[in-house]
């Protein structure tokens, strides 16, 4: 197994956890991005990934991993003029607009599919949804 043996300094400082708060300070990072042109079952190890639908010629469904994986988060952005759905498996695990047991959220409104964007975070029990206010792009919940 390979190991990292040295870490560079930046402006004289070695990147490290704050000793008091155990926080990574002034985090600078890039996110993992992945395009999916077909439906995909998201994995726990995908946590932190921003998915898009570039290249899709039909609807794309992203099925979320088991909600028990607290802290996992994913971002979904529809980049084509097709429906994009984000589905919990099992159903009834998404929190969205007066419903604590939604099954799925779908960008399907004609003329407002491209650009629909959604962040979901698992709290271990539910998938908490943050839909972007990107113009009139919307998600429709199924229950």
């Amino acid at each position: 197994m390979a190991h990292q043996t040295q870490m560079n300094t930046f402006m004289g400082n070695a990147p490290m956890l704050d000793g008091d708060t155990l926080q990574i300070k002034n985090i600078a990072a890039t996110l993992n991005t992945v395009s999916k042109a077909a439906s995909y079952t998201v994995k726990v190890i995908d946590s932190g990934t921003v998915f898009d639908t570039t290249g899709a010629t039909g609807a794309v469904t992203f099925t979320l991993p088991p909600v028990a994986n607290a802290g996992c988060f994913f971002v979904f952005v529809n980049t084509v003029n097709q429906n994009m759905a984000v589905v919990s498996d099992p159903v009834d695990k998404m929190v969205y607009d007066n419903d604590a047991a939604a099954d799925s959220l779908t960008a399907s409104t004609s003329g407002h599919k491209i650009g629909a964007a959604l962040l979901v975070v698992s709290d271990g029990t539910n998938w908490l949804a943050f839909a972007a206010g990107n113009g009139s792009a919307v998600f429709t919940a199924a229950t």
């Binding site: 802290g71 962040l119 943050f130 839909a131």
Partner: protein
């Protein structure tokens, strides 16, 4: 004390890009916490996604007064109970044409569950990213 070893994950070594000092292809999970009573957020909570599952009354999350010590701190809040949540910090919240908002409250009947927002301190104000989760909204209050 220098770090001398780091395991690989799926054949890849987590590391900083030596040129940009960015964490590349960030894979991470977020911290999540449930609060059923009012709570004052701390600097150590930065990065946490709060929810209100199980609350039988409104839950108010009080933010730290923005200051250099919490510059860059961020939290997510999602109302997962029908009794709603409020996020409060006197005269320090930037939202909808005001930089001196006192609080944001999810209280619109039938659109409380699922109301979600992110807040980030810039050292002098709390910057707000409210999710557009269908009709779930926050109401701003200012003195």
């Amino acid at each position: 004390m220098p770090q001398t070893q780091m395991d690989t994950y799926m054949g890849n070594m987590p590391m900083l890009d030596p040129d940009t000092m960015l964490l590349k292809d960030l894979a991470a999970t977020l911290r999540t916490l449930t609060k059923t009573a009012n709570y004052t957020c701390t600097v150590n909570d930065s990065g946490t996604i709060f929810n209100s599952t199980g609350a039988e009354a409104g839950v108010t999350f009080t933010l730290p007064t923005p200051a250099a010590a919490n510059d860059g701190c961020f939290y997510g809040f999602v109302s997962t109970s029908a009794t709603g949540i409020a996020v409060s910090c006197a005269d320090s919240i930037v939202y909808d044409n005001s930089i001196v908002v006192d609080s944001l409250t999810a209280e619109t009947e039938d659109h409380i569950i699922g109301a979600a927002l992110f807040v980030v301190s810039n050292g002098s104000k709390w910057l707000i990213f409210a999710a557009k989760n269908a009709l779930a909204v926050f109401t701003a209050a200012a003195a």
